[in-house]
């Protein structure tokens, strides 16, 4: 059975005038967790967003595939199919500001699954609110809620879609330790259900809980994927906070 979800092959990009990253290859398998490691933080961010198909600028199409489909395909239907199963969680927990929290949570869900039973979805949302310690903010606008809650809501929104792959830009960014703990537990549960993760993170707890492999990218060198059993993984893990 083919378990490969995302495949990046021969990707090159430039971060600034001095830094060139060339010929990056790696693939993401179903149900596994991957952390991108790079000294240049901008490079790992660009790589993550490129893999998500969110950076149209400097990249040429045909380098990144999700289940064999080009993530930069000009075909809207194909993109919709990809986005149904591949979700991106932004660092700031971005939400649509003129929609309520509930409308925000339902937006991608109803777009991809118009016949969703709202009552069942609401029950799932209430459960997740409880799990992540979010007060009932369903009817509030994003501007009225805290950054922490917004960030946690982004995970709930992602999970509602029941994706195969979640890409995360610094999942624990700016969260305090108790919130971090809740989020890690939540993501671990998702992983147990078979969700794969590709993320940029410098958090040790994320690495311990979610990462099966790390993807190391260095300027001018091919990307290296290192598994948990590899001594290099343990060495790297010590550098995480």
């Amino acid at each position: 059975m083919d378990t490969e979800l995302l495949k990046v092959k021969g990707l090159s990009f430039r971060v600034d005038d001095d830094s060139n990253f060339r010929d990056i290859h790696f693939s993401i398998d179903a149900g596994k967790g991957y952390v991108i490691v790079c000294e240049n933080e901008n490079a790992s961010n660009i790589l993550l967003k490129s893999a998500a198909g969110l950076l149209p600028g400097p990249l040429e199409p045909g380098y990144i595939f999700f289940k064999g489909k080009d993530v930069y395909s000009p075909d809207e239907k194909e993109i919709k199919e990809i986005r149904k199963e591949m979700v991106f969680v932004f660092r700031e927990g971005t939400m649509i500001s003129n929609l309520t929290v509930q409308e925000n949570l339902f937006l991608p869900l109803l777009y991809h699954y118009p016949n969703t039973d709202k009552k069942t979805a609401m029950e799932k949302i209430a459960e997740d609110f409880n799990f992540l310690g979010i007060p009932d903010v369903s009817m509030q606008r994003p501007a009225e809620i805290s950054f922490y809650d917004k960030k946690k809501l982004a995970f709930i929104r992602a999970a509602l879609q029941q994706p195969n792959l979640i890409l995360m830009d610094r999942p624990l960014f700016n969260l305090d330790s108790s919130d971090q703990e809740q989020v890690v537990r939540y993501l671990t549960n998702l992983k147990k259900k078979g969700v794969a993760f590709l993320m940029e993170s410098q958090s040790r707890s994320i690495l311990d809980a979610l990462a099966d492999e790390v993807i190391i990218i260095e300027e001018g060198k091919p990307a290296v994927t290192v598994g948990k059993e590899d001594p290099a993984f343990t060495k790297l893990a010590d550098l995480f906070r």
Partner: protein, 268 residues
């Protein structure tokens, strides 16, 4: 001397740069308008996520402006009656009042006034809202959902503005006629139903069609320009008010030019 030469070249190069930018903007707007117009009637579908955006746009642009439009309609009609009655009464042509209400208010001013109010209220609001969405990465968020910002944000807004301008123009004309009749009755003792009957009698098919065509075109221009300017924001919040100003200025210019163009066509 050489300084003068340099500054002259500086001005020239700046002008060339501005021309290049203007040309690029026009081309971008043209391509964007084509993309919007090709999808104009396909979206928002029943059950689609953009339906809510459409309803909210009609509520804000159309329904919320009813009181203001009614006030402007009555005032305009009253002013025209007042002026025409004074001038034409002196010339012994008081009967022209109904014809002039049709020509000035219904054919010319109704769609223009509605367009100007919609530009001031909604055009600026749309470009500011979309500009802020760009700044706060909300457009990227929509991309990450696989939702096209054109389908979700632009088309419902353009359709909403077109529907609102059309409806508001019809409402403006209705209020202008009824309000004008009440004003004429109150100040000059003209019977209300007789006044309305006379105005309707003076109306030709073209008088009815003209404001409809104009308001459709004005709504389209306002919607397209406002969304385009909002989405042109690159990432700095300081660009948002600048784009809102561009949106208002360009929409006013487009409305005036379209008004002249359609009026000229009427006389061909």
């Amino acid at each position: 001397m050489s300084d003068n030469k340099n500054s002259r070249f500086g001005i020239l190069s700046l002008t060339a740069h501005q021309y290049r930018n203007s040309f690029k903007n026009i081309l971008e707007f043209y391509l964007y308008s084509i993309s919007v117009l090709t999808r104009f009637f396909s979206i928002p579908r029943k059950g689609g996520v953009s339906r809510l955006v459409l309803f909210r746009q009609i509520l804000f642009t159309g329904c919320d402006a009813l009181a203001l439009m009614g006030f402007i309609a009555i005032s305009t009609s009253a002013l025209v009656i007042l002026e025409v009655h004074q001038i034409m009464g002196q010339l012994g042509e008081g009967g022209l009042i109904h014809e002039l209400i049709v020509v000035i208010v219904i054919r010319q001013l109704s769609s223009l006034f509605v367009a100007l109010v919609v530009i001031a209220r909604s055009g600026a609001a749309i470009s500011t809202e979309l500009g802020n969405m760009v700044v706060h990465q909300e457009i990227d968020l929509l991309h990450s959902f696989g939702i096209s910002p054109l389908s979700y944000l632009v088309i419902p807004r353009v359709v909403g503005v077109v529907v609102s301008v059309l409806t508001l123009t019809l409402y403006f004309n209705f209020i202008a006629i009824v309000g004008g009749a009440l004003f004429a009755n109150f100040f000059y003792g003209m019977p209300v139903f007789n006044f309305i009957h006379q105005v309707i009698r003076e109306m030709s098919f073209l008088d009815l069609l003209s404001p409809v065509i104009k308001s459709f075109l004005f709504g389209l221009a306002i919607g397209l320009i406002s969304c385009f300017q909002g989405l042109k924001v690159k990432g700095a919040s300081t660009e948002v008010p600048q784009r809102a100003i561009h949106s208002v200025v360009n929409s006013v210019m487009a409305t005036v030019v379209l008004n002249i163009f359609v009026t000229l066509l009427e006389f061909l």
